[in-house]
Symmetry: D5
Subunit: 129 residues, 10 copies
């Protein structure tokens, strides 16, 4: 799996005094199956708590496109994209979910997380529904 050429850009977090969550859903991820060369399709769901940096939307789009001609196994590519995004933005917390289309009658989803050392989530407030 060679390196995608596009780089991820960032901008300063406008509210670093707070832990808050950013969610991005990217329904148009596509790469190639390393065994068969067949195109694979997935929806990526990214969730993160920014620290000093937020990921810039347009560069994220270009980064995601850069996988279009890459061979990539489901488990490996999810962990790699998470790693790239975490290195670029150094978030307090980040989770990436990749929901792949059916292959051989089986649907696969991979979920991986990154946590900054020493960071802990605030106790959540569960308001009654």
């Amino acid at each position: 799996m060679t390196e995608p050429s596009k780089s991820l850009e960032t901008f300063p977090n406008p509210a670093p005094e707070r832990d808050y969550a950013i969610r991005m859903t990217i329904p148009e991820f596509s790469c190639l199956c390393p065994k068969t060369g067949q195109p694979d399709f997935a929806t990526l769901r990214l969730e993160y708590v920014p620290d000093g940096l937020c990921v810039e939307l347009k560069s994220l789009k270009l980064y995601v496109w850069s996988y279009r001609d890459q061979g990539a196994f489901h488990e490996a590519v999810t962990n790699r994209i998470l790693g790239d995004l975490a290195r670029a933005t150094m978030p307090r917390f980040m989770r990436l979910t990749a929901e792949f289309n059916v292959r051989g009658g089986i649907y696969t989803t991979v979920v991986a997380e990154h946590r900054a050392p020493g960071w802990t989530a605030m106790a959540p407030v569960e308001l009654p529904q």
Copy 2:
């Protein structure tokens, strides 16, 4: 990002002896992209536990409209609206979720919370479903 001109009005909380939750869904938020001038659209979801004051519905509607001609980045505008609402009502707890329409094939949601110092949520009661 200049200041919206409309002010938020409040009324006294009719049940201050209790921690209870108010949820408001506002599907008609619109502002402008600061880079391109393109209209952006979002659904705002507000949840709060009032202390002495509740936000008045009509003034909330006018406050939300006041962003229509403002340039505003997703992450910044969500944190700013939360700040304005928290300053106006001084709630025990407040959470604002802004779900933006797709841009560049990517859907973005931002969620931020305010907690009054010293306030803690009651342990939730989870009745079996």
Copy 3:
């Protein structure tokens, strides 16, 4: 807000030896806006853990109807109905959710709880889904 004339009736809890939950959904609540006289509509969701008494279904229906000509603000009427139901049945736990129809482009939901002093919920059993 004058007093609705209908009274809530009860019957003995057939299984007081257990903490168990009763949920009632009432999609036909209607009252009047105190400012404009405009009819307001809501779905009420009641959940409770009975102690000695259960609320009788037909009297609950009549009680709910008695608000039809009452002026009532969203936050106040939810807390008031919860109070009336709690006084009538003295439950171990009770939660009332009122989901109001859209007004001025904004959807409002109010959720309030009553807990009997000294009562604590059993630790919930979360079976894997």
Copy 4:
């Protein structure tokens, strides 16, 4: 409320070394309203962690049918069926949910649980979604 004549049959739990969950959904429960004689309809949802015995599916079907001509209040019949099922299978944990059809514009659901003395659920593993 007289006794239904059908008895519940069981078979040995094939994996007693584990705490695992069995869920059964029975959308065809019907009994009679004791006040009016009107048929009532409900969907039953049964969840349990078996110990030595599992409930046999066909006898469960016949047991459920045996209520067809019984008068039964919502709260009482749910607790009674749970009791019968718990006596027959002596489970580590059992929960019964009865979702009744609308009556008088109100939808009622009753949820009751049985826990074997001394049994505690394993801490649940929540994998990220």
Copy 5:
């Protein structure tokens, strides 16, 4: 219940330094009812945290097919498949859910888990929704 002939294959976990989750949904499981010989159909949902090995997708498909002519009770076959998968991949955690089609008007789901001795899940991070 004789042994299915197909063996499960594995490949090395590409990110063993992390606890991360793999989910696979297999809507095409079919076996036979041991009493009546009638075909049974189920959707299998597999979730696991890999340790050294991941299950290979194509061999999983063939393994699942191998039950097509096997007689199998719901509770027993779910526990057996979980056992086979856990032996083959030695995961940190694994959960198998089998949702069977309706039989006799009753829908049955069985959920079983395997946990590696000494492994504990990280405290989950619940970002506000």
Copy 6:
């Protein structure tokens, strides 16, 4: 199949000068399988264009209940109920749809129509959607 004892009542059509449609959905039909004695459940959907008479709602409910202890095949009972309703109300047009719950893994729906001799439907107006 003996005769249900309840009779259908009617009231005068308040707008006989028009062809207009009345639809009634009755989700709580239950009868018995003549072969096995097993309860069968169906949702009835009635549509009609009244002539001089409309069917009275409460007597319709009682009529439907009267099948609860009747043995009835799917195809025969649908045609019979249609016949009874058509004799009672002498409509310009009537259609009855009976959607039965799954039996033996198969879902059955039966649809039958009655048309008054000489009556023809107006050409429908299809407004663009």
Copy 7:
């Protein structure tokens, strides 16, 4: 059934040269059952092809409210509202659908149409879906 006091207002059709359709959905209709005094609730769906006049939205809202304290049978009230709307706007075509909430376990919908003498709908263009 006495006369509601609110009158329907109109404004000139801005495009009388065309046959075009206006649809209005009014989920908040409520009247009283003439037999029991019980509130009834319905969703009204109005579709029309205007000729010289369109119905003004605010007066329509007030007209609908005026039924709140009126006793009204389902079939009669639907035909009456259609008549009032047709007299006020003299449309080329008008259809009113009233979907009433469940009563006695039965859901009732009434649909009535008005056609201007001599008007015929254009042959519809069905584009392939």
Copy 8:
């Protein structure tokens, strides 16, 4: 493709004086791919207007099971089942729809009809929705 051994049984149409419709949905069809031996899964939807005979439900279930070990292409097997059902029941009209599960990322549905010579459908009555 050899002959399935199970025969279809019938019973006399209880209402031959009418054209009416019977619909059956069979979500549990399975056969084998003739090229790869892989199991294929489909939902069958059968609609027919009976003449002298109706298809008996239990024999239909057994007939459908008899394909479980047959190799069958999608287009051929749909036409063959339609032929068998039409020969057994000699209906006025029959339509069979087979919706196959995804294979190679493509979902296939096949729909075929049989019409008795000389039979024509009544002009349908489209009541306004």
Copy 9:
């Protein structure tokens, strides 16, 4: 209602030898209420059969934005946009549907069509579903 300044651009129809359909859904239309100045929101649905010209997507987006500060009644603005699009592309057939958000508890949809003189739609082919 003054004239929006943006012009609609077109490109040559790549398949003028055929009648075929283009559908565009534009969920982000916003204008102002001429009475109150309140923002209105709608989803536009455009369907057309092109003749010599197709509407260019980016110019359509800009044209739609140009209404953001225009006062516009529902019925008038739908007919006007249809007129502008028809003048720009001279289609064989065009239909515009505007689904407006709720105002005063009422949802309004307006649908208007343009047909080129002398053009008639091909008889549609309805394949059995």
Copy 10:
């Protein structure tokens, strides 16, 4: 737009004596925008009435993949794929629908049909629903 290199393969129609329908849904079409080079994604829906030939599923999959690196406008590529499929299979009737993902806030769908000269569809049989 250069020529995709993969060819479509066919097999003989197993039931040429009948007009019947084959539907294929292909959710994984991707090509490139000729202006920006941006990947475009669409779901293709193919419906046809075969004459002598059916399209072979695997070659269809490869044909669809061959567009992955092609620049293609929405309207043109839909008409071209329809042309290729019609030339390869010479069907009695064929319809292709391409539903493209949102671009610039606008969703586009293109639908085109091919009809064999002289072929007419049978009058459809609409069974009452």
